[in-house]
């Protein structure tokens, strides 16, 4: 059965449908409602038997590359253009179909923002490739 990542972003992606200030500027009850909804999504997925994994990523990022045969790793932590993608976390789900993954992503996107109104956040839906070899012949 196909697995998908429902990716949330700190920034990047299509033009936001609704612009919202950073979460630390929200009313405390809106923050509570937002966090409660994230827990609720995980619980819902578990109840459905669709849950595989959920993780949140810290926003700090370090880019690393090979430095060459005689040198250590080369790192940089910026500056990055403000438009670059920054993943905030994900749910990994195991579902019947791509349609179901899209349905769940839309639900995640309905999470409450300031004033308790939906965020309309863009969710990035990515299929996870099967590792397992098939039991029929490939083309």
């Amino acid at each position: 059965m196909p697995k998908y990542l429902l990716l949330k972003h700190y920034r990047g992606g299509p033009e936001p449908h609704r612009s919202v200030p950073p979460i630390d500027q929200w009313a405390p009850e809106d923050v509570e409602a937002h966090v409660a909804f994230q827990h609720h999504v995980s619980e819902l997925l578990e109840e459905n038997g669709e849950y595989v994994d959920a993780q949140a990523l810290a926003p700090a990022r370090t880019w690393v590359r090979y430095g060459g045969p005689e040198a250590g790793p080369v790192t940089t932590d910026g500056p990055h253009p403000e438009t670059s993608d920054l993943v905030a976390g994900w749910w990994m789900i195991d579902v019947d179909s791509h349609e179901r993954a899209v349905e769940l992503a839309a639900y995640v996107s309905s999470e409450p923002g300031p004033g308790g109104e939906p965020m309309y956040e863009w969710i990035d839906v990515r299929e996870i490739m099967w590792e397992r070899p098939r039991t029929t012949d490939a083309a």
């Binding site: 059965m1 397992r132 070899p133 098939r134």
Partner: protein, 398 residues
């Protein structure tokens, strides 16, 4: 454990008893959900007790222990549900003593009200006798997720009338889905699907059930040659045919012949016939493409509008057309599918194969690259990238 073969615990034999015992409990009027739980507990008990004390009648032993569990469970519920208990214990109207247990249970587990993922999970547990842990491992999901999926499926079945004849087409589709999911860890789902299909053929005369078993056997026979020692995909035309499992091929052909003799052809029988023709060729050059094409003609004739209803069959037929009538004719066949499956990796991979067949290596390389971008399987993606690179290198060398 002792070395006495009559005393050795055979897990396969134990699991083969599962459908019979479970069907017996459900027919007696027990709720499917509760009976299935009780039998799981009885199986764990058996694994613990039997090595030292093998039962004379394993099936009867499991039934007795599962019944005891059911009674215990009901007793503890009784205080709260005293009134419900009386109806609970009454045999359900219409439950039949006749018919085969395996078929009966497969119809329960492949109930049309269940989603495919649930049908698969329930079938593997209630008919296959696998544990929740094993099924979870096979599908790479947490055990809690699989447990939840199974219990939801059982709740969906709760109160459904399970005495109606089910839809065999759904059962066949579920078993084929289990087969194509392959194997992971210590659970061989392909082998499990073959085992269940074999049980199914003992339960029904339906030729399509035999067609499905034949198709699985004839495909599974090529498994040892399908990957090299590095785990890379080896396509049919390059496989070492000496590594094909001749015993499985012989069984597949025998099963297929007995199905075809009933003269009620269907998609699984036809696909098995095509697989048998591939298996029958001593070398790729000796493949009987005209006869394969004839079977594909029959396959696409099963649906009114094959391009929409069965694009996979039209795509397979295009390959055969390419080998019989030439690459250009094959490519023309694939053109008709562009609107339907033009975004799928297989469509591009088949076109790449046909371009290669026609000697157009740059086009083959481009199509393999397109296919690689759309693959949803790591081994296939790597294979397609390799094919693209090979075709491109060969094209520039000319």
């Amino acid at each position: 454990m002792t070395d006495d073969p009559t005393r050795r615990l055979d897990e396969g034999a134990l699991r083969a008893l599962v459908p019979r015992v479970l069907a017996g409990l459900v027919r007696r009027g027990e709720d499917f959900d509760a009976a299935e739980d009780a039998l799981q507990e009885a199986l764990l008990e058996a694994l613990r007790v039997w090595p030292e004390h093998p039962p004379r009648e394993p099936g009867a032993w499991l039934t007795t222990v599962a019944t005891r569990r059911l009674v215990d469970a009901r007793r503890s519920e009784a205080a709260r549900h005293r009134r419900e208990e009386t109806t609970y214990a009454e045999p359900r109207a219409g439950a039949t003593e006749e018919g085969d247990d395996t078929l009966f249970l497969l119809f329960c587990c492949c109930h049309p009200d269940l989603a495919p993922t649930s049908q698969v999970a329930l079938t593997l547990r209630a008919v296959g006798g696998l544990t929740t842990r094993e099924i979870a491992d096979a599908f790479y999901v947490p055990e809690a997720t699989m447990a939840q999926r199974i219990s939801r499926a059982k709740r969906t079945l709760h109160g459904r009338r399970l005495d109606q004849p089910g839809d065999l087409a759904v059962v066949l589709r579920v078993l084929y889905l289990v087969y194509t999911t392959g194997h992971a860890g210590r659970v061989d789902l392909a082998g499990e699907a073959i085992r269940l299909a074999r049980q199914l053929t003992l339960a029904t005369e339906e030729p399509e059930a035999r067609g499905l078993l034949a198709l699985m056997l004839l495909n599974h026979a090529r498994l040892p040659a399908r990957f090299d020692t590095e785990g890379r995909i080896v396509t049919l035309d390059r496989q070492d045919r000496g590594r094909w499992d001749t015993r499985e091929i012989a069984e597949g052909v025998r099963v297929l012949q007995s199905a075809l003799a009933l003269e009620r052809p269907g998609r699984y029988q036809i696909e098995a016939a095509i697989a048998a023709l591939h298996d029958d060729a001593a070398s790729t050059e000796e493949t009987d493409w005209p006869q394969i094409l004839a079977w594909y003609d029959d396959l696409v004739a099963l649906t009114d509008e094959p391009v929409r209803q069965d694009p996979a069959a039209v795509l397979g037929r295009a390959v055969a057309v390419g080998h019989v009538l030439g690459a250009a004719a094959g490519l023309r066949e694939t053109d008709r599918l562009q609107d339907v499956i033009g975004d799928r990796h297989r469509w591009h991979a088949v076109r790449a194969h046909l371009h290669g067949l026609g000697g157009d290596l740059p086009a083959a390389a481009a199509a393999y690259a397109e296919a690689a971008r759309r693959a949803t399987n790591v081994a296939e993606r790597d294979h397609l990238v390799r094919q693209a690179a090979r075709a491109r290198a060969a094209a520039t060398a000319h």
